[in-house]
């Protein structure tokens, strides 16, 4: 929490500027104390590879590259999961091209796997789309959590990067941004790594089809769990994490028991955030 305060400037009304006129935001609505910070962020963003100032967020090729390279080990794990998805999609009757198209455009592992589990003849289109939406609602929270850093970027960069957001690279990005790196392009770079491995593994899995058999015998079903355990270890911030995490854990386990689908993920995150808002003393 303390570390956050350093990297997160106080909210200002200047966000709307960036919305209207990409990144060159006029400082007319800003208070005086906000102006230097915003100017700094805007300056370094347009200046590309210049040395970033301590608290600014930049969007550079170096950020893309660092994100990509950092994410490759995790993307390998995602690849294992992608093979499992490809096999499931093949068993559901999708062609290799259709499975690859889904991985390339939807890019949301859990939702895709649940969707192909729902796949039947005739196709329950409404149920599939509603389920995908519900499973992926957590992405809204995850995207919102990036705002303290993304506020410095233009809408095109923000929304383009968010298209590449998956669970794994979002968590890596949060870790990187919280360390004060100011690498606004990290999400895009790490997302490209996820995309390449996810789509590639989908094709391999769909081609392998029946040959692979039951993926659980290789422990492939445990990969996503392992990824999240590893991410939890990294996201732990000490004592201050304890209460929100216990709240999230209790809420999620209870909700998973009594609610259908993946609502427990959304609920666990929201309740923990709500408790933190109530607990917070300014």
């Amino acid at each position: 929490m303390d570390a956050d305060a350093d990297t997160r400037p106080v909210a200002s009304g200047s966000d709307r500027d960036a919305d209207g006129s990409a990144a060159t935001g006029s400082p007319d609505t800003e208070s005086d104390e906000q102006r230097p910070l915003e100017a700094e962020a805007t300056g370094s963003e347009t200046a590309g590879d210049l040395e970033p100032a301590a608290e600014s967020v930049t969007f550079t090729w170096d950020g893309v590259r660092t994100g990509f390279l950092t994410c490759v080990p995790v993307a390998l794990g995602v690849g294992g999961y992608g093979i499992a998805f490809g096999v499931l999609a093949d068993q559901a009757g999708l062609s290799v091209a259709e499975a690859a198209l889904m991985s390339a455009t939807v890019l949301a592992g859990a939702a895709q796997i649940v969707a192909v589990e729902l796949w039947a003849d005739p196709l329950p289109v409404g149920a599939i789309i509603a389920t995908v939406f519900a499973i992926n609602l957590r992405y809204s929270l995850m995207g919102a959590a990036l705002q303290p850093w993304f506020r410095h970027l233009s809408p095109a960069k923000i929304y383009g990067s968010l298209y590449m957001m998956a669970d794994e690279n979002w968590a890596l990005t949060m870790r990187d941004l919280k360390s004060g790196s100011g690498r606004g392009a990290f999400l895009l770079g790490s997302g490209i790594a996820i995309w390449v491995f996810w789509v590639g593994a989908t094709v391999i899995g769909a081609l392998a089809g029946g040959v692979v058999g039951d993926p659980t015998q290789y422990g492939a079903d445990f990969i996503l769990t392992a990824v999240f355990v590893a991410l939890a270890a990294e996201l732990w911030e000490g004592q201050s994490s304890l209460v929100p995490w216990v709240v999230a854990l209790g809420t999620a386990v209870l909700a998973a028991e009594y609610l259908p689908g993946r609502w427990y993920i959304l609920l666990g995150g929201l309740v923990a955030a709500a408790v933190e808002v109530i607990r917070y003393d300014s």
Binding site: S95, D121, M142, Y163, A226, A233, A248, A256
Partner: protein, 108 residues
């Protein structure tokens, strides 16, 4: 599933439509949250709430998954934690977890 197996490259227009609809709602969820918070000024109190989201969501994903598992999954999860703690190497931790879960499932 059907007797006339589709060739690897076939793209059924109807299925492509369903896939693109899935992609569209997914994009909505990915950009929706930040679109919303960019339009309201966040108090420090609200930002404190947002800041616990990353860890809380990871735990919310993990909790029910581990609760549904057994000693093999719990042991393997512990192994991932241990390797992460000692080496901070994600790839090593993942390999340890997957090898561990296969081994534990065979033994337990």
């Amino acid at each position: 599933m059907t007797p006339d197996l589709p060739s690897a490259l076939s793209l059924d227009p109807f299925i492509v439509g369903v896939i693109l609809a899935m992609a569209a709602v997914t994009v909505l969820t990915k950009v929706g949250g930040i679109w919303l918070v960019r339009r309201v000024d966040l108090s420090e109190r609200l930002e404190a709430g947002l800041s616990v989201l990353p860890g809380a969501i990871v735990i919310a994903v993990l909790g029910p998954e581990l609760a549904a598992g057994g000693p093999a999954e719990w042991g393997a999860a512990g192994l991932v934690l241990l390797v992460m703690w000692r080496t901070e190497n994600i790839l090593l931790a993942l390999i340890a977890g997957v090898v561990g879960v296969v081994a534990f499932r065979a033994v337990l």
